[in-house]
């Protein structure tokens, strides 16, 4: 229980999370022997008992298993792996919505994630209110969000629908708004999760060119999560292959793809 930790460090049992908004460090994201263990109980009742009594039996799954890698600032990197390899869990730990069981996760800079684009919105609120709320949660001042919101609305091509409740939107419309928001707020680290096939072909092309322009900026780190090697080759310089929660290979994108397709 040391109380003299710096403000950006959180300790949770055996795990340490270091997170700040300093976008000048040479390393943007680093995982050091990170394990994420999910406890699987037979049912909700057992889970509730398990929070009080240690002896309640449960299964464990290590979604990330002793995972170590580093993402240098300004690079564009692909995380390659099959379904269930632990890519999404790793991304969730980078974005900060879930916490490691052990190991050290280090993230320097603000993260915006294009994860499951239609999520993260309140279905009862209108598109405009949602965007407004997300801008506030992102920490923008009133002036900044007033400047940014028209840009987001225009990119999403929602037109008059923007003032309708989200629950009336089609999945394509939600995804378009999600992409427009996450890519407009100028993050230091952008996480893209199979998101570039949003909407019709025309909109997908627009998304791709938006991501390309973000990658072109210096200092913005882009993380791609995909099992599409074509997409990885198109956008990334480097690749990491994840299998069963471990980083099996790390290097140039060509070599990473070769390793991934061979395995």
């Amino acid at each position: 229980m040391s109380s003299d930790l710096p403000a950006n460090v959180t300790r949770m049992g055996e795990a340490t999370v270091i997170r700040d908004e300093d976008a000048s460090t040479p390393v943007a994201v680093s995982f050091d022997h990170v394990t994420k263990r999910y406890k699987l109980f037979r049912n909700d009742k057992q889970r509730l008992l398990g929070t009080f009594i240690r002896s309640v039996p449960y299964d464990t799954v290590n979604a990330s298993n002793d995972l170590s890698f580093e993402v240098p600032r300004g690079s564009s990197l692909a995380l390659l792996g099959d379904n269930g390899a632990g890519k999404s869990t790793a991304l969730k730990m980078i974005t900060g919505v879930c916490f490691p069981t052990s190991g050290t996760v280090e993230v320097h800079g603000r993260v915006s994630a294009l994860l499951e684009l239609s999520a993260g919105f309140d279905m009862k609120l209108s598109g405009m209110e949602n965007i407004d709320m997300r801008c506030q949660l992102w920490g923008l001042s009133k002036g900044e969000s007033e400047k940014l919101i028209p840009e987001i609305v225009e990119f999403s091509e929602l037109g008059k629908y923007i003032d309708q409740p989200m629950r009336t939107y089609s999945s394509g419309m939600r995804a378009r708004l999600g992409f427009a928001f996450a890519s407009s707020i100028r993050p230091d680290i952008l996480v893209v999760d199979e998101a570039l096939s949003v909407g019709d072909r025309k909109f997908a092309a627009k998304c791709k060119s938006r991501v390309r322009s973000i990658i072109a900026k210096e200092n913005v780190t882009v993380l791609f999560v995909t099992h599409s090697t074509a997409m990885a080759k198109e956008f990334c310089e480097q690749g990491i292959v994840i299998q069963k929660g471990r980083a099996m290979f790390s290097g140039g994108i060509e070599d990473a793809i070769a390793y991934y397709t061979a395995s």
């Binding site: 900060g96 919505v97 993260g120 997300r134």
Partner: protein, 268 residues
């Protein structure tokens, strides 16, 4: 535990602007989708009060002036805080399910969900209190000096019910059974308190049980402001049990939240 307390205070302070805005958004969300919008804020309690009044005045014939104030005022001073508390008991104890996307889609400190939800309900409660004061003044009942303690009562309510929400929401997120149990508790919380009857006439044992019900203290101290004209700390028999419950729930909140907040996103 102290570390959790410090972390909670730091988070709430750092995000104070967002907490305030989210409380307003929660209000919009509650009254959205209805043409009359804000009118519902007043119609629902008005109907409630009317029904209770009719039932008690004509059905049970138990209404008479209290401390020289109209029975209707006594009733309103009990039922308005109950609206706040019934929402806290049912929804407030399971608040992560109301905002699942803030738990596992966006990076957002979980403790703030309890804070801003309680705050939004407290805003509604303040509106009702303001409404009561205005109606009283129109009817010729001028506010007394004891009304000055109302903000303090509301501060106590805020701390208690935020702790309540933080202590129980993680458990509700883990188990549906637990959240259903708490929803069922709403009825005993209502009847085992002094909302509809003056508990002064109850047998001693029943009074003791009721005094450990936090609803009782809140209702009684709001009535102290409007009806009984006394300071709420002047009656230690109701204030001390409430303080004990407050302490229990603050400790429970720190313990449960500190132990479970990393698990909630995994299970929701």
């Amino acid at each position: 535990m102290f570390r959790t307390l410090r972390q909670l205070c730091a988070e709430n302070w750092q995000w104070r602007r967002q907490v305030w805005n989210l409380a307003k958004i929660d209000l919009v969300k509650t009254y959205r989708g209805a043409a009359l919008g804000k009118i519902w804020l007043f119609v629902k309690p008005a109907v409630y009060i009317l029904v209770f009044w009719v039932a008690l005045e004509f059905g049970l014939r138990s209404s008479s002036d209290v401390n020289g104030k109209p029975y209707l005022l006594w009733l309103s001073a009990g039922v308005f805080p109950w609206f706040f508390m019934s929402d806290m008991i049912s929804t407030g104890s399971d608040v992560y399910r109301r905002y699942p996307y803030l738990v596992n889609r966006i990076k957002f400190p979980l403790s703030l969900i309890s804070t801003f939800y309680t705050l939004s309900l407290l805003i509604i409660f303040s509106c009702m209190m303001g409404f009561t004061i205005v109606v009283c003044a129109i009817c010729g009942i001028m506010p007394s000096v004891y009304l000055l303690q109302l903000p303090l009562v509301m501060a106590f309510m805020f701390v208690f019910w935020v702790s309540w929400s933080m202590a129980l929401s993680p458990l509700s997120a883990i188990s549906r059974d637990f959240s259903n149990l708490l929803k069922t508790l709403g009825t005993p919380f209502f009847w085992l308190s002094g909302i509809l009857f003056d508990i002064g006439h109850w047998p001693r044992a029943a009074r003791l049980v009721a005094s450990f019900n936090p609803v009782t203290w809140v209702v009684q101290s709001v009535r102290d402001c409007f009806v009984y004209d006394r300071w709420f700390w002047a009656d230690p028999e109701s204030f001390l049990p409430f303080l004990a419950m407050l302490l229990v729930f603050v400790l429970l909140a720190l313990h449960n939240y500190g132990r479970l907040y990393t698990e909630v996103p995994d299970v929701l």
